[in-house]
Subunit: 554 residues, 2 copies
């Protein structure tokens, strides 16, 4: 499959915005956009990539280490490895501003080649940035400005993508880190198993990338975040190979797996991971409910989790996101459906006191054995109804499930139409969540209004836990032509400051990268930073691994 | 409550061995002990504690830092902080061999005093060993032989034992680390909450100790091990205070909590922990089943966990432990009970094909909401019956639950009677478990037989997980008088080597201490050791914190 170099996913795929007649008029109106604009990415052939700065001796040594076929300085390879898939990345790619491309790309096909590449990095002084699917949205794949003169290479794990073994007794799979989501699930499902990890980037992101960034899938309430799935791993560092044993739990010092998980390439290259897998669910059921308020919905989620029920998915949209979701639906196809919708609205409002202006939608997913799905669903619907939720049945839930990987394509369509659109996420305890939510919404709206623009900002809770939940924000505004990056930076900074002031996580599942690193000293504290840097000094004394991520530059 | 200085728990409490008429004759026969012996601990007043080596300047500075009332060089205080509660410890204590007592004990009552003590340690060059409940069974509380000349103090957290706050919305509690199990549960239960952490040492161990050693409670299948309960913590290191934020999950680099959890005092003193708590269960139900074989029982456990059911307790005894458990029961009180027992044996053997000679007993515990307890119990009993388990009903289960903290007292009684008795534990994936089990049993039996003695070695699975389980071994032999420590060391080494050769964890929930440190390089690998040492160098460059634990001495 050919991938877009300037946007999300498959080259031939687009978000079907015009199939949803209410969507674009709604967005235009909300964003105060009067005229339609059309903004296309520059042509590939017009892009200038700076000359590779790698000295010939380093090139020769790398070619010898990985083989001619696994080494490239070709412009398109370097372009495809220059950025992730954040808003900032797409703006730069579409504009053809590729100042920051790697000086070469290597594609090692075995761990010994990774070791050799890191040895050469120390010897020749270039930096190494590990590359999985390239879907980072936190600038995890580029050099910090302070080191923009330093040569660096992208180490693409795509040729280390085999399933090494599946242990059907222990329900673990040992897999090379470069494998992409679909290939991994295909191999597992052929054995009746699943990892159950479906981040929105699933089709284009890799196991190693998930582990390095602490990814979360849409079914995380049942299967856990990726850090809960890692049983053992191998990470090549400049000083050696960390190899942990597959154990269900242990008391043998601090958890080494959890020092590699989330390390974002700072310490080394994760080459292999043993993950916990599950029997394929006998049954899968998605449904939706409508709550009379954001607070009522959150309370229901909290009670479900604190009541020790673990459905696959619980995803609660706030009022603004609920309304946007309804606008993004395809139109009712028949008068009967339209009548049924009106009847439901009447029922919800008059009988259940759920007013559409304040309604919040919950998507629920259940997976597992038949009996467990039924028990969980009945218990959870009961808890929701006690909190004044109204059952919307399966339609909306199933349609959400079917289109769950589509939304990133919408961003490209909106960029074509001159809309700034980005998402960011954080987490907090239930007690801290309302203030954090209000502060981030307000910070984003205020920052956008300060540019004289109309904001559209909304949020959902997508990963509830016993003690708290994540908040996932979407923000949109009209793009200020010629000022796109600075405009985005203003909004992002406003949100990050609001998160910091309210004790939220730097991120719940996107990672730190360069984008969140300025707030890391606040979030992790001086001693936390010292510990992360101490680990860095121990395993990468020459500082060749992914400079500037998480802990910034010294 | 006065505690035994020479044994387990409360001074006035003993295991009621003689109330179980079959027990001692059975043990004597199994261990080939013909004559009864009586071996008492030396008298307290006969114990000689070496002179404190702390220089006067250090004493003065410590007194100034913590106050006269929080500082002691008294012999009994130093004695009570010299050892943990392992077999090796009790042997030395009972013999009055206290070569290794701390030179002083400090009892800081606030975090600033802990900071001051660590500063003084760096300044004056003495070492600091944090002390919670003092129940380590892996020599976590003493100096390594290689540093026996170095002065050290015991830092007792017992005066930092307050519940700081309980967040009933997020269901978290922030608690000073020195609190003991009963006091913590009392405070939580007064608010309708529980931590659900009941290690066998519960009555005498502390929150900070649990966290520092990766403790597991008997209800861990529902509530998790302690590392799953930690939401945030504070750890005073010689270079500063690690303070993590309470978050349900995050993607902000490697998990700092998990660098402190299990650190066994190597990096600093854990002073405060925010833990996840739960509503008190509406219902609690314990029961037992009998399986025709060890393999059938393990398969049932695996299917329960892989089927995503999480009862509170699942504890499966092997054949030898099942027989010992029956011998440790009190006699049937009535002819009707005795008749019922005979009838059950007939039924199990003839109808269910469970022969008592091969039978393995499972203790099951269910806690939670009424409905969930019923659903889990029905599902789990169903899985057990599919694996040929026979339901024994509630009697044995409830009686296990009632006496669940009693067994450590039995050790004192057996030591009085000249029996070497110890336990050790490990973990592995389900696939690796059978070979690990066989190897450890065989290693212990062989080592004991090599001394010309009759071994009694048995095992249970006490903490099953999705991908594997822990194995908890008990081993007994006649004590060789005058050679007790070397005798024990031979058996312990044999077991540790068998664990290492079969990929088991150094420990599942006791920790590493000094006892398992020789096998750490094998279990954690060179790069893992480098990472743990790198962290040590970053936060404790002077090396004052609990020398020799986990990673040994440099």
């Amino acid at each position: 499959m050919q991938k877009k170099w300037w946007g999300w996913g498959a080259l031939d795929k687009q978000y079907p915005l015009d199939a949803k007649p209410e969507a674009w008029p709604y967005l235009k109106a909300r964003l105060g956009m009067t005229a339609d604009v059309e903004r296309a990415p520059v042509a590939l052939e017009d892009i200038q990539i700076p000359q590779s700065r790698l000295e010939q001796a380093a090139v020769d040594a790398l070619v010898e280490a990985v083989g001619q076929m696994n080494f490239s300085r070709a412009g398109q390879d370097r372009l495809m490895h220059a950025y992730g898939k954040g808003y900032k990345d797409l703006v730069r790619l579409r504009a053809g501003t590729i100042s920051n491309a790697p000086d070469a790309v290597v594609y090692p096909n075995q761990e010994a080649q990774v070791e050799a590449v890191l040895r050469l990095a120390v010897e020749h002084g270039f930096a190494v940035i590990p590359f999985g699917g390239g879907t980072s949205v936190v600038s995890g794949l580029e050099m910090p400005d302070s080191q923009s003169d330093r040569p660096f290479i992208s180490l693409d794990l795509g040729r280390m993508a085999e399933v090494v073994s599946i242990d059907l007794v222990s329900q673990t799979a040992t897999v090379q880190a470069g494998i992409m989501g679909p290939r991994l699930e295909e191999a597992l499902q052929a054995q009746g198993m699943t990892l159950g990890h479906y981040p929105q980037s699933f089709e284009f992101s890799s196991l190693g990338g998930w582990v390095a960034t602490r990814s979360a899938g849409q079914q995380s309430t049942r299967y856990g975040k990726i850090e809960h799935m890692v049983v053992a791993l191998r990470m090549v560092t400049p000083t050696g190979i960390l190899e942990t044993r597959p154990l269900p739990a242990a008391a043998q010092g601090p958890d080494l797996n959890q020092m590699a998980v989330g390390s974002e390439g700072l310490y080394g290259v994760i080459t292999q991971v043993t993950v916990r897998v599950h029997a394929l669910p006998e049954r899968r059921e998605y449904a939706a409910m409508l709550f009379p308020s954001w607070e009522a919905g959150q309370k229901a989620l909290r009670e479900v989790l604190q009541g020790e029920r673990h459905p696959a998915t619980l995803r609660l949209a706030d009022v603004a996101e609920t309304q946007a979701l309804f606008k993004l639906r395809e139109p009712s196809r028949s008068p009967v459906q339209a009548w049924a919708q009106r009847a439901f609205k009447w029922y919800a409002a008059k009988v259940k006191d759920v007013q559409m202006d304040n309604a919040c939608m919950l998507i629920m997913g259940f997976e597992g054995a038949h009996e467990q799905v039924e028990q969980d669903r009945d218990a959870i619907v009961g808890t929701c109804e006690q909190n004044h939720g109204v059952n919307l049945g399966h339609g909306i839930g199933e349609s959400w499930y079917k289109s769950r990987f589509e939304l990133p394509y919408l961003r490209d369509t909106l960029l074509d139409r001159g809309v700034l659109v980005d998402t960011l996420e954080t987490s907090a305890t239930w007690e801290a969540l309302p203030a954090l939510y209000a502060a981030v919404i307000s910070a984003l709206e205020t920052a956008i209004r300060a540019d004289g623009l109309d904001p559209l900002v909304y949020c959902h809770v997508s990963h509830p836990y016993h003690v708290g939940a994540s908040l996932y924000f979407t923000f949109m505004a009209k793009q200020i032509e010629g000022d796109e990056l600075a405009q985005w930076t203003r909004y992002k900074r406003a949100a990050s400051e609001a998160i910091a002031a309210n004790g939220g996580a730097l991120s719940h599942h996107h990672g730190v990268g360069l984008d969140h690193a300025p707030w890391a000293p606040d979030a992790l504290g001086a001693e936390g930073m010292r510990m992360l840097r101490g680990l860095k000094d121990a395993v990468d004394p020459a500082g060749v691994m992914n400079p500037g991520k998480i802990i910034g530059t010294p």
